[in-house]
Symmetry: C2
Subunit: 214 residues, 2 copies
DNA sequence: ACACCTCCATTGTGATCACAATCTGGAATG
DNA sequence: CATTCCAGATTGTGATCACAATGGAGGTGT
């Protein structure tokens, strides 16, 4: 009895799934990278059964692509798909931000500001993966306050599909000034301005992806 | 060579997945129904391997629930979850409808009107499953014109999660008059009125689910 | 009559294996 | 030197099996 509340004995395929999902979402895999079930199983010390289930789940979520012959690789997104996913981010994330707004007390805003400083540091270091991870953590921390788990899950699915592409985007990231859109989001939260928040979130989410569409 | 364009030799787990997904989305399974991997495999004449992969995929999409011990059943949604999913439908489906609006020529509108008549007939017959299926077909036919496959996929995920619940909703459906919200959608499409279309889609999508939240 | 406990059937998990399709590398040919 | 073709290696698919955990039914005790 008395097990830790969030520590149900983790199954093998779940462990594989979460690790791969994190890698893909944070851009550790370049678009077009090939994966094999036996290779995954070998890396995680399991047979191919859990590897297959994790891979199939990621394919279903759009995080991986499966050719007609079943070969697995990270997707290379076409421009119209990128535009569509960016629109989805704008649509869903503005809604989540607005829902989080009335519950965003000062402690949350300060936590967001702290995360934002780590984002800035990642940019200064030119560390693309760290930037993607901390940036998504900034957004997720805010959206968690919206108390809308299904909506957040959909947004994370979109992030997942954009993961490898974001890596390609920020791989060419020149070191330097962090964008000020996060600062605008924080200001809108402090001032309780819903309209300004909408604009700030939408531009933050859409801006970077636009310049990726060659 | 020269295979039919949409007929790649269908794998077993894909067949299982599509069949189960269709059943769930169309409300053929009441919330709380239990499923077993061996039972699924037996029904489809396969081993439990394809059944397991299909079930896990459906669990990942929120179409099925898995208890901590791994038992599989259709989800029983709480009220706040239903509200959230209804909001998602409103958000995503208005966007899809607006995107489809400039491309909705007369032939499409007539096809939608034809589908709508089959919806009305299902209501007259009191056939809940047929109603859900034809109603979703009405929406999907419109949204396909939006040329936004990722967005449509997200909406279908939401439909999938609501499937068993919709069944419970329309199981108590009294025979009789079909709602006129579809008629409003068709009118807005004919008149090219974006604002009216937004309102019509949102009310059509939200209305029914509201009265389910006891 | 009700609660609890024990035991067995059932369930999901993961490993292993056989098989067919596919890809890759190199050799043979023009 | 480029192109084609063949064969070995690699990959995903699905079946089968052993195993641990769970759930439910029936019996026992109060």
């Amino acid at each position: 009895m008395q097990a830790r509340p969030s520590e149900p004995p983790i199954s093998a395929h779940e462990r594989v799934y979460r690790t791969l999902r994190s890698r893909i979402m944070h851009g550790e895999l370049v678009p077009g990278s090939a994966l094999t079930l036996r290779g995954i199983g070998q890396e995680f010390g399991t047979s191919m059964t859990p590897a297959r289930e994790a891979a199939r789940r990621l394919v279903a979520e759009g995080a991986l692509t499966m050719s007609v012959s079943g070969r697995i690789s990270t997707p290379e997104l076409a421009n119209d798909r990128i535009e569509e996913l960016a629109s989805l981010r704008g649509l869903l994330e503005t809604e989540l931000a607005v829902r989080a707004l009335p519950r965003a007390h000062l402690a949350l805003i300060e936590r967001l500001a702290a995360i934002n400083s780590t984002v800035a540091e990642a940019i200064r270091r030119g560390d693309a993966v760290a930037y993607i991870r901390t940036n998504l953590e900034f957004h997720r921390t805010l959206y968690l306050r919206a108390q809308a788990p299904a909506m957040l899950a959909l947004v994370e699915t979109v992030w997942l599909q954009l993961g490898p592409t974001m890596r390609k985007l920020y791989g060419r990231m020149r070191q330097g000034r962090p964008p000020d859109s996060h600062r605008l989001i924080l200001a809108a939260l402090r001032n309780r301005e819903e309209a300004a928040l909408r604009v700030a979130v939408r531009t933050d989410v859409t801006k970077g992806l636009r310049l990726l569409m060659t």
